[in-house]
Every structure is written in structure tokens, then in C-alpha cells.
Subunit: 337 residues, 2 copies
DNA sequence: CGACCTGGTGTTATCGCTAACATCACCGGC
DNA sequence: GCCGGTGATGTTAGCGATAACACCAGGTCG
């Protein structure tokens, strides 16, 4: 009969290698003062026993874990999902485990609760994907002392933050439409309390101002194709609308459908630009010109900012932005004459 | 000057409440033999000190963590992303933290490495989102003893598994097209080594067989809109094609675009059905009839299966399937005469 | 009425690791 | 040739919980 003995511990390795457990610890932590020959013996013993250090024990004595907590909304919105995925990968490569706390709605209480759960786990740091103002408000409750980085949060708060440079992306998109010959560009925006949406409005407006184009009223929507469709139905009826910049690709999709239904051809009658570059954007009808954020870069910056806080405690310049890139496809053309 | 003293420990609470640390432990773990009055005193002390138990210490002595490891691919495919999100929420509600290990490609080595990382963390159980055969193969390497549940994995393996009932969903979708009057239904499938894709092919074929319809060759694609577009370009040229069932919504999107470019109207010339019900499917041109899986239910079943393994060790009937639902919109019509 | 249970509590050992200090052999310099 | 430094290793003391057992008061029961 085979006995289900407990996992091997450091002392087991030590016994097999003929050294003290402390020497094993030194080998594991790459301390310099270990003879090469001893190191090899210990490593062999580790391999033979398939020993793996007990993180709980290590965490107990050092007071630190190798866990990063992420708070994110329970949604499959392309942007946040991509970001999360990219961050998990980056953190994993750096040797950190990532614990994700999902939140149904981005309100103060839910976020505070998720942060508390992470603190209970004694995470080394927390990343909050806080793309709207209620989420950002919740961060005021987070006690200092826990390294914290906000992604897509409030640019006006001095806390460590990484964002996509929304304004620049929106500026480029709008400029591209103006350069194509349009007199002005309409804008279908995301929810007003999302910083991403606000930044895109800002960039759009800046581009119009720069060329002294008239600034039409913002058409407010949420992020859904449904709301884009409703906005599109309205815009399709207005003959003077020849160019629309949408705050994300799904809104653009809704606009495309509305235009199609009303017999307004994209791009010949109306040009449309989106934001996000979702994988299927190239297969919209017509293929969508859009702005692609670099989520992997955002993830890297986020991790970097967190690691800096682990070591330094403070970071000189705690805000980073990542420039997005305009991807030209077939949904933009000169205005009809 | 304020001193950054260490976090309060159980003994601090005990001292404040005038009891032994063991009594504090009993209160925390809801042991019955504690006087009500004592329990209240302890709880007050806990609150006053903002004490939170040290999970590392607990894990050290009990040998168990409250962590569930998930292995998932680093992709934003709608299905896996939704599943992951739903699972994180369900696990969180049940008091478990979820550590996500992302993997770039679903090959044997990567998955084995991710599983090892989770075992290093001594997770209580592991969930592998293993939708293709190479991922499933990798699970053979996982040593017994770690509770493991596979999601979207190989139905022919006897390991604990939860899946969407692909075959039934595909059957319903195909049947719906036949009932609309189509003589047969073409199929654009996902990658052949994905179980989801295989199950959908199977259901599609079963529905055709059931009505003695001719079974056209499968048009193989991957999950992308791009490949759906290529498949669609081919199908659009064949006048006998009047109905297409696509293995997911993005493939359907590509097909819709190809049809549109070739001047074949959907649904009047060709009917199209997808699978997944991505949020924007209702805003495709035309709104897409599709099959909606219940990811939340899959997540619940997955967690349930895992919890059963924690307690029982074994589970009688370790495979669960969740039935999807056909969502009818405007991409299906009777065939042209 | 003493043996025995039982509910409430305290005491001690222990989990597996790291930090700090102790030890010891060996080296070079005066 | 003794002293102090240094490199390699061992010894000991916790980290903060739970588990197991000890203890004690008070009630039950033969």
C-alpha cells in the first residue's frame, strides 16, 4: 500500500543533500556564499524530490506575497478584457500571480469590497481598472500603504496611473477625416462618466478647433452597438452629416447599420471612424478605419509602475500614457459634392 | 511621529478582548463552544483593530488555500473571455480567490507550465479552459491529487468536465434553417481541433441527417471574421447555397460581408445563423440569428464540480453540459424561389 | 454524593520557511 | 605565529495561525 505522505519540505531536501535546511534556503534564494559543489548537490536533491517551496511559509515569515490583485468589471467590453489579459501575461512573466476580483458594477461600494478582499489576501499590490468616475471615487477609500496603480482612471488625480492617450488618438482620427475634405466631424461618444470617452471627446474637439471647423453637438451614447445604432438613425437623417467619429468600434458598427438601412453609403456618403480596433473591425461593412490602442504596452507600464512602488515606495512621475495608432481601412472617403 | 507598526495579529485581538488567541480563532471559525458574550467581545476587538486574519499563516498550518487557479489562453475570443469573467464572479462569491495563468498558445508545454505555476502556489483546485485537443492532451501530465475541472474540453475523456451543449445548439440552429424551407444548410466551421467546433459540426450533421437532407462539405475556417470572409467569398459564388450555419458570430460577420459584396442579400438570397450571441450580433447587417450559450451556468457548474472534489474527493457524474438557446433575429428567411 | 460528562477556555506544539547570529576553517599580515 | 577578517555552513528563534490536549466549573445520574 502506498502512503500519501506530505509534500517534501526544505528539511527533507536538506537531509538528502547532507546540508542544513538553511543552506537549501540559500540556494533557493541565490545567496552568494554557497560553494558551487554544495549548490549542485542541493539542486539535485530538489529535483529528485520534486520539491517546491511553500509560499505560505515564505509569505508568513517575510510578510510579502507574490500576488497582485486586479479589480475589474464583470464585462466583456473589448478594451478592459484585452487589458486584463495583457496584464495577466506580463505579470506572469515577471513571476507574479494575478488574482482577479470581478465587480458587477463600478460603484464605490463594490470596488471598496473588492479591494478589501484583496487586502485580506495580503496582495503585494493592486491594479484597478477604473474607467469611470464612480470607480475613481472609490479609490479615495483605499488606505495608503498598499501599492496601487489605476488603469484608465482619472487623469486629474495625482495617483499612479496608466492610460491610453485617448485625446491624441481621437485627434488623429478626427484630423484624418478633416484631411479627407470634410468640413466638420460629428462625434458619437461613450458614457460621459468614462474617462476614456471624455478624453476622446476632448481630442475630437481639439482637432476641430485646430482647423476652425464648426463643432457640432456631441451625440451621447453608451458603448453598445445598440446605442450606436440609435445615434446613427438620427445622424442618417441629417444630410449635412458627412463624417462621424465614434468613441468605439461597436458604436461605429451600430452607426454603419443605421446608415445602411437609410441607404446612405459608407464611405461615399458618410465616412465613419471607430476606436479600439476590435479583431473583427476589418470585416465590418465596409472595413472600419479605427484607432488601435496598444494594450500590451499599457500592461507593461502598469506592471512597471507597480514594481517601482514595491521597491522605491514612491515614484517620481507616476503617470504614463501610451500612444495609440490610426489604422486606415475603407470607411473614410472624401465627402460627396 | 507615528510608528508604522506591524498589522495586528490574533494575539493583539486576544489581549484587547481579554481572552486567549485560541478563543479568537474559535470565533473566527465559528466554533460552537464560545459563550455569546465572549464572542461579542472578540468581535468588537476585531473591529476596533481592523484585524484581518493572515491567510499565509492559516494556509501554512492547514495545508490548504482558498485559491483556485485558472489556465486560459491569452485571447479575447468572446466565449473564453465570457466564461472566465463569469467564473471569477462565481468563485469570488463563494469566497475563493481566482488566480489566472495566461498562456500564449494552447500547447502541451505551455499548459503544463501554467499548471505547475499554480501548483507552486498550492491552489486548492485548477480549472483549465481547454477547448482544443492539444490543450486536452496536456492534462494527461497533471498529476492526480489536484482537483481539476476542464471547461470546453474533450468530452471523450472521463475527467471532470463542463461544456456548453454544442451539438444541441448546432442542431437547433440547423433545424431552424431547414424549417424555414431550405433544402440543405452549409456549414462554416471553427478550427477542427477545437471541441466546440467539432461538437457544432456534429449537431449540424445530425440535423441534416434527421431530415435526410444532403450533407454538403464542411467549409473549414478558424474563428476569425477574416476566415469567415474568405469562406463567404466562396459560398457567395455558388447559387445553390441558400443557408449557412457558422460556428461563431465572427465567422458569420465575415460571411455577411462577403455576401454583401457579391450582391447576395441576407436573408432574402441567403440565410445565415451564428453561434455565441456576441453583444453586437443584434447590430450586424442584418441582425444575426444565433445561438446563445449560458456562460454563467457553465461557471456555476464548474465551481460546483470543483467544490465537490474538495469535499468528496470523487464525484459520481463528473460531466455536465449546459444547453444553449436559439435567438431568432433577421438573418433567416425562406429560400428564394 | 462521587464519578462522569460537557461546555467554555487556556496552553502548547507545530506548520515550513527566512533572518540573525554562531561557528569554524582557512587566509594573510605584522 | 598569533590575530582578525572572510567565506561556507549550521543553529536558533520567530512569523501567525490551527489542532490537540489540558483544565476547570457546574450539572446529571446511579
Amino acid at each position: 500500500m502506498e502512503k500519501t505522505s506530505r509534500d517534501p519540505a526544505m528539511t527533507d531536501v536538506a537531509r538528502l543533500a547532507g546540508v542544513s535546511h538553511q543552506t537549501v534556503s540559500r540556494v533557493l534564494n541565490n545567496h552568494p556564499n554557497v560553494r558551487e559543489q554544495t549548490r549542485l548537490r542541493v539542486k539535485a536533491a530538489i529535483k529528485e524530490l520534486d520539491y517546491r517551496p511553500n509560499r505560505a511559509a515564505r509569505a508568513l515569515v517575510t510578510g510579502k506575497t507574490q500576488l497582485i490583485g486586479v479589480v475589474a468589471q464583470n464585462s466583456t467590453l473589448y478594451g478592459p478584457a484585452s487589458l486584463l489579459s495583457a496584464f495577466e501575461e506580463a505579470a506572469g512573466e515577471a513571476g507574479f500571480a494575478v488574482s482577479v476580483g470581478r465587480v458587477k458594477v463600478l460603484d464605490r461600494d463594490s470596488i471598496a469590497a473588492a479591494v478589501e478582499r484583496h487586502r485580506d489576501q495580503r496582495v503585494a499590490g493592486i491594479v484597478v481598472i477604473a474607467p469611470n468616475s464612480s470607480a475613481a471615487d472609490a479609490l479615495a477609500d483605499v488606505p495608503a500603504g498598499v501599492p496601487l496603480v489605476t488603469v484608465d482612471g482619472d487623469p486629474d488625480r495625482p495617483t499612479p496611473l496608466v492610460t491610453v492617450d485617448q485625446a491624441t488618438g481621437a485627434f488623429d482620427a478626427t484630423k484624418h477625416l478633416i484631411d479627407a475634405g470634410h468640413e466638420t466631424v460629428w462625434h458619437v461618444s461613450g458614457p460621459a462618466d468614462w474617462f476614456d470617452a471624455a478624453g476622446r471627446v476632448e481630442g475630437w474637439r481639439a482637432a476641430l478647433d485646430a482647423t476652425s471647423a464648426e463643432v457640432p453637438p456631441v451625440v451621447a451614447a453608451d458603448w453598445s452597438a445598440a446605442s450606436g445604432y440609435r445615434a446613427g438613425q438620427m445622424l442618417a437623417r441629417m444630410p449635412e452629416v458627412t463624417a462621424v467619429f465614434c468613441s468605439n468600434d461597436h458604436l461605429a458598427l451600430g452607426v454603419l447599420r443605421a446608415m445602411s438601412e437609410r441607404g446612405r453609403n459608407v464611405p461615399h456618403d458618410v465616412s465613419v471612424v471607430g476606436f479600439d480596433d476590435v479583431p473583427e473591425a476589418a470585416y465590418f461593412i465596409p472595413p472600419l478605419t479605427t484607432v488601435r490602442p496598444d494594450f500590451a504596452a499599457v500592461a507593461r507600464e502598469t506592471l512597471g509602475l507597480l514594481l517601482e512602488q514595491f521597491s522605491d515606495g514612491e515614484t517620481a512621475r507616476p503617470q504614463r500614457t501610451v500612444a495609440p495608432k490610426l489604422v486606415k481601412r475603407d470607411s473614410v472617403a472624401p465627402p460627396p459634392r
